[in-house]
């Protein structure tokens, strides 16, 4: 299982980090695949959902 190293402080504006944890179709990748710690995965999901709302990353690849 590969361990991703996340910086101590990151937030929803770090688009390049968040993009590594979503699939091509925009889904959040489960922690059992990425090997991220549980607390980091909770942060990731929260920030990914905020970043989606702000149109920084897509919800899906089906956007018109």
């Amino acid at each position: 299982m590969s361990k991703y190293e996340l910086p101590k402080n990151f937030n929803y504006t770090d688009v390049n980090i968040l993009k590594q944890f979503i699939t091509e179709t925009g889904k959040i990748i489960p922690a059992r695949v990425t090997g991220v710690t549980a607390s980091n995965q909770r942060k990731l999901t929260k920030y990914i959902k905020i970043a989606r709302f702000l149109a920084l990353i897509p919800y899906t690849d089906m956007h018109k």
């Binding site: 402080n9 504006t13 905020i50 989606r52 702000l54 897509p58 919800y59 956007h63």
Partner: protein, 161 residues
């Protein structure tokens, strides 16, 4: 008093009036006892999906601190502002105080663009050199062609023989 991060996406067609909007927004915040500790004007950015038929948005980030009950009043006023295509207030424990990655990215892009602009004259200079070379070549070419013609003539002569 609670700390918040505010993200506002402005209509890209009005991004030239962003400074006016920031002034108005500051007045609105200060009228509602909010303090602004940091503001970032990220600028126009490509949206990941279209919002109200806009493909780009002008992003503004604010670090603010104030009374939660007053925030509702601010949000009520922002809701009916047509220059805003999306807004979000997130409560945070502490403001990081560092520049957001969005701002850094936009700065990097600007720098790259400037680098390209700076590089262009540099590229042009070699081109001029090349032109000079071409000129030289032109001078040389006729000689070459003449020599080739000479060769051809010689060949013909050979054939004749």
């Amino acid at each position: 008093m609670k700390k918040y991060e505010a993200v506002i996406i402005l209509n890209p067609n009005l991004s030239s009036k962003a400074d006016d909007f920031i002034k108005d927004f500051k007045k609105l915040l200060e009228a509602n006892t909010f303090k602004i500790s940091k503001q970032e004007d990220v600028g126009r950015r490509q949206l990941s999906y279209s919002i109200n038929n806009h493909n780009k948005g002008h992003y503004l980030l604010f670090n603010i601190e104030g009374d939660p009950s007053k925030l509702i009043e601010i949000e009520n006023k922002i809701k009916y502002d047509e220059s805003i295509i999306r807004h979000l207030f997130v409560s945070v424990k502490n403001h990081s105080g560092e520049d957001s990655q969005l701002l850094l990215d936009s700065k990097n892009k600007k720098n790259e663009a400037e680098d390209v602009v700076e590089k262009e004259p540099k590229v042009k200079q070699p081109k001029e050199d090349k032109k000079e070379n071409l000129d030289n070549n032109k001078d040389v070419k006729p000689e070459d062609s003449e020599s080739k013609e000479d060769d051809k003539i010689e060949e013909k002569e050979d054939k004749d023989e």
